[in-house]
């Protein structure tokens, strides 16, 4: 018999109540149960970071978090970054700096970067940005545009 739970979570400000199996990952809950397919699953063992979302403001790998662990939490996904059609400063910077190609890793990088930038009060140097972004994998861009985009937004926000 399946071990099921009723959980409540808010995704990008939208309240959801849903019945999930205890083993169901947060990534699958978001993608397949709630339709937030912007969060991607690249490795299911916590290395690639494509599934990164913010759980109560903290970046987590949603492939390593169970849906039940998000009960009562605020989740922020890539769909919550833009204001309608208007892209956020970070999204615009990714496009301006050619920080994406296939776009599969992009939601994870955006959420990781958003969490990182929200903790900064000074403009980080390139080496530090590279160390932070090393948490996630990209196979297309050589990371250069992503690093540049994060640095530009840091300067805009901190400057």
């Amino acid at each position: 018999m399946k071990d099921i739970h009723l959980i409540a979570l808010a995704v990008n400000g939208n309240e959801h109540e849903i019945v999930v199996e205890s083993r169901r990952t947060l990534a699958d809950v978001l993608r397949h149960d709630l339709g937030y397919t912007g969060t991607h699953v690249g490795c299911e063992h916590g290395i690639c970071g494509a599934c990164t979302v913010l759980l109560d403001g903290e970046p987590v790998r949603s492939c390593l978090v169970f849906g039940v662990q998000a009960d009562g939490c605020e989740v922020r996904t890539v769909e919550g970054l833009a204001d309608g059609e208007e892209l956020s400063d970070l999204q615009k910077a990714f496009s301006r700096c050619h920080g994406l190609q296939c776009g599969f890793c992009t939601p994870g990088f955006l959420m990781l970067s958003e969490a990182y930038l929200s903790e900064q009060d000074t403009v980080p140097d390139e080496a530090e940005v590279r160390e932070v972004l090393a948490a996630n994998l990209c196979r297309c861009t050589g990371y250069q545009g992503i690093v540049e985009a994060v640095r530009q937004v840091a300067e805009e926000r901190m400057g």
């Binding site: 999204q91 994406l100 190609q101 090393a134 994998l137």
Partner: protein
């Protein structure tokens, strides 16, 4: 209004940045059933029995016995007339398994977790057979030679003969999105819609139609957004038959999503080769002849690429140099490892690594500067076009245009301007084991034979392009919109590109081999020009002036010198609708054109890579400090996207040069089955990369003058990094193999050769 050459932002970006892209796993169908593949845990053995777990529902486990008999996946490109039929991979193993990861059964369930549960409990009985891991001990599936000129006499009269042995490790593309497929069936007709078959959708549709025994028009393949391709993703694999076949059999949608552990043993591997290469020089360092003897490890079966990687290895080995005589021999060996296919710059990454290492060793032996030896032997602009008495991919090797030495000089000047050599000297003064590697390479692109494109103008003035290209992240939607906008003199914002839909574009060739801008772009260019001509013809009727008095500018067709006398494309499109007074009885309705572009030969871009590395002689760790790519692309439609392709290629090249390798133990068990074992480079392993895009040598063989950009970032990365490590350690011989993991660098330091 020009669009070509502009750094336009990508049309793809807004949807991808908002999480609104549509990747295959982003969609689910009501009533869909999930497929899970059961794979062999043994590298070689006799398949005795596949047992369904007792509690699993009937029909939930499908084995080879349930399939039509004898199904094998055909090769896409036959080369050198070599028949590989007996080495083709079956859809599911029937009697024998030949590698760990080979599909032996599939499981079906309403839920993916449940499918995985059942798959875990399927028992596979295999009587183990001897395992071959060593390439040289494998089964020889093919052997062939390519070359021209009197090689033996060149070597006999040489003042210097230099030989290197060089191994290239087994690595591959490993795109971030695992493979996925959804087949939706019309229960009434059995017609299939397939999502996720992105790369060569028309070819895959045709293969599937043949295997299912149905007309190809019963199958509608929709290319999707795709999380990277780089050669491996989108080829026809066993799952590409199983998912649609099951959908037709069950009359239900069937979905399959690969996990990462599967991907690393199931999708095509590439690159693994052992070379013994020799060069003959006269007393001045002029190359007289080149030889290479290659063992190619193709894994357990011949897959869709057949033996094109071995062929390209030999055909491209002479590179951009003046090679009076050449002889290459390659033996294609089958072993009990994952089968191989192409990966970005197939054959060229391997051959360039070997040839450039050979040049480095030769330069040092002869006491000639490494760059100077290359410059001396590069074909000059005056010597082009240059025909080599060889063919590859069914086309003669005719190097079309270029200034190889000119680009080498530009690259060296740029590196000096950016302080590469001064940084090297300063590091060495401070006691670092630093080195600079320089490699020159020739690429190939624009493989034909053809591409077809439709350009359709709607009555709102929106322009729609139906191309045979596919979007794998390279930005082809934006590039084709720029090409279209340029030909029609409209704003690229009004152009929408639909790629890889087999109903809209049933003759598309797909995106691979750096061909989609060259061949697909040229087809789009021709179709757009045809639409423009047709628009002028209609405008002449509408405005009652001669066609010669009309010009196209800023999205309108207007009378020269008569402000206000104009019609828009939207008005012309409306005038092309049935019932319009401007449309004649014998004319087809609509403002649209389908055109085909056929190429005679490929086009050959070229480039230079420089790597500055710092070797930690204690740990063997190699840090890439600086990296420069100079690349002549003929003509850049969108320079930002060309640079992006090169940047991404370098990162993959650094991975192949230093980190990435599919290793196996003696029992044929893969040692890289997670991202902990198979290490992709992260942002921290890469430096800022300098890119110099040149447009000195437009391609003469296509109307846009373009050469492909997809592979030039990776081609010489192994070569330049191997050269830099050799320089850093002061080796007299070759580095000997890639990847140069820290362990192997420590080995080189201990050997001290």
């Amino acid at each position: 209004m020009t669009s070509i050459g502009e750094r336009l932002p990508r049309k793809e970006d807004p949807r991808l940045l908002r999480g609104l892209g549509r990747f295959c796993d982003d969609q689910d169908r009501a009533g869909q059933v999930w497929m899970r593949v059961v794979r062999s845990p043994i590298a070689h053995g006799r398949l005795v029995e596949v047992r369904k777990p007792g509690s699993a529902p009937g029909g939930s486990v499908v084995t080879a016995r349930d399939l039509p008999p004898g199904l094998r996946i055909p090769v896409r490109l036959t080369v050198q007339g070599i028949d590989l039929t007996e080495y083709l991979q079956p859809v599911l193993a029937a009697d024998e398994v030949r590698y760990v990861g080979e599909p032996v059964a599939v499981v079906l369930a309403d839920d993916p977790y449940e499918a995985e549960d059942i798959a875990e409990r399927v028992e596979v009985d295999i009587d183990e057979l001897p395992v071959t891991v060593d390439t040289a001990s494998g089964t020889k599936a093919a052997e062939f030679e390519l070359g021209y000129g009197p090689v033996e006499s060149a070597f006999a009269q040489a003042a210097h003969v230099v030989t290197v042995e060089f191994d290239v490790g087994r690595h591959s593309a490993v795109p971030l999105e695992p493979r996925a497929l959804l087949a939706d069936v019309d229960p009434a007709t059995g017609a299939l819609r397939i999502f996720g078959m992105t790369k060569v959708p028309v070819f895959n549709r045709d293969v599937l139609a043949g295997m299912l025994g149905v007309d190809e028009n019963l199958i509608h393949v929709h290319a999707m957004d795709t999380g990277g391709g780089f050669g491996v993703r989108g080829e026809f694999y066993p799952e590409d038959f199983l998912v649609p076949w099951l959908a037709r059999k069950l009359r239900r949608p069937v979905k399959w999503v690969e996990d990462r552990a599967e991907h690393l043993v199931a999708a095509n591997h590439s690159r693994q080769q052992r070379h013994v290469a020799s060069a003959a020089f006269d007393e001045n360092g002029t190359l007289l002849g080149l030889k290479d003897d290659v063992l190619h490890d193709n894994g357990a079966y011949a897959r869709t690429h057949g033996i094109i990687v071995p062929e390209l290895t030999l055909a491209m080995l002479p590179g951009p140099y003046r090679v009076p005589a050449f002889h290459g021999r390659i033996q294609v060996m089958l072993t009990n490892k994952t089968p191989c296919g192409t990966y970005r710059a197939p054959g060229r990454f391997e051959g360039t690594s070997v040839r450039e290492q050979l040049f480095d060793v030769a330069a040092d032996r002869m006491g000639i500067d490494r760059v100077e030896l290359r410059r001396r032997n590069l074909l000059t602009a005056d010597e082009l076009p240059h025909t080599r008495a060889m063919s590859t991919l069914g086309t003669d090797v005719v190097l079309d245009s270029g200034d190889y030495a000119g680009l080498l000089d530009k690259a060296m000047v740029e590196a000096d301007r950016l302080g590469y050599r001064s940084q090297l000297e300063s590091l060495r003064e401070r006691g670092h084991s630093a080195g600079l590697g320089v490699a020159v390479f020739l690429e190939k692109s624009g493989l034909g034979p053809q591409e077809t494109a439709d350009v359709v103008v709607g009555t709102s003035g929106e322009v729609r392009v139906h191309s045979g290209g596919t979007s794998l992240g390279q930005g082809i939607e934006t590039v084709l919109a720029q090409v279209t906008a340029d030909a029609l003199a409209v704003d690229p914002a009004v152009v929408t590109v639909v790629n890889g839909d087999t109903v809209l574009q049933p003759f598309g060739g797909g995106s691979w081999a750096s061909r989609s801008t060259v061949v697909g772009g040229s087809a789009v260019h021709k179709a757009a020009l045809a639409v423009r001509e047709r628009a002028i013809q209609l405008a002449s009727r509408m405005l009652e002036v001669s066609e010669d008095d009309l010009e196209v500018a800023a999205g309108t067709i207007r009378v020269k010198g008569a402000p206000g006398m104009s019609v828009s494309y939207a008005e012309v499109a409306t005038a092309c609708r049935p019932g319009s007074p401007h449309l004649r009885n014998d004319e087809p309705a609509g403002l649209s054109a389908r055109r085909r572009f056929e190429v005679e030969h490929m086009t050959y871009p070229y480039g230079v890579h420089l790597a500055l590395v710092d070797v930690d002689t204690g740990t063997g760790h190699v840090k890439v400090l600086r990296y420069l790519v100079a690349y002549d692309v003929g003509r850049a439609i969108n320079p930002t996207l060309v640079e992006g392709q090169l940047l991404g290629g370098v990162a993959q090249g650094v991975g192949g040069a230093l980190l990435e390798e599919f290793r196996y133990d003696d029992a044929g068990q893969p040692q890289a089955v997670t991202f902990m074992d198979y290490q992709l480079p992260t942002a921290a392993e890469l430096p800022h990369i300098d890119i110099l895009v040149a447009q000195d040598a437009p391609a003469p063989g296509n109307p846009l003058g373009v050469k492909g950009a997809g592979e030039g970032g990776v081609t010489a990365a192994g070569a330049s990094i191997a050269g830099a490590i050799r320089d850093a350690l002061g080796l007299t011989g070759p580095v000997g193999r890639l990847p140069m993991t820290a362990e192997r660098v420590r080995g080189l330091i201990e050997e001290g050769t």
